[in-house]
Symmetry: C2
Subunit: 81 residues, 2 copies
């Protein structure tokens, strides 16, 4: 199973990296861009063949290591393969 | 429209950050984890209301700024809202 963990800054937390990207896009002429937020994607190959188990393992990993709950939120998506 | 650009290291490129995360997960007792790859997620708020336009703009931004095609590949997903 493949688990995709997406870690984003919480909505109520400032994201200076996102602001920098937004400014860079504006200077490149992309006037259409509003708010930008930058996060991490972690793709994990898991030995288990159960989607439920893969999800609970990936969530445990996100809570323990991949995300900092004070400033970040995460989502887990499970994919076959 | 909201565009989610996911930038990952190309499959044929080494990912030392992913390796480090895999090792850290193993030391935390997650024996089930195989390969790990770490990439970026960029969430862009776009003023346009056309999904096709949002996609082509986000792809242009990824090519120009967000991804380095030598070592990275990207995917664009368009969301309403």
């Amino acid at each position: 199973m493949k688990a995709v963990v997406t870690v984003m800054p919480r909505d109520d937390v400032l994201d200076p990296q996102g602001k920098a990207v937004a400014q860079a896009l504006h200077s490149l002429g992309f006037a259409d861009v509003g708010d930008v937020r930058v996060g991490k994607t972690i793709v994990l190959e898991l030995a288990t063949t159960s989607a439920a188990e893969a999800r609970s393992e990936a969530e445990a990993m996100a809570r323990k290591l991949l995300a900092n709950p004070v400033i970040e939120q995460f989502e887990v998506e499970i994919k076959d393969a």
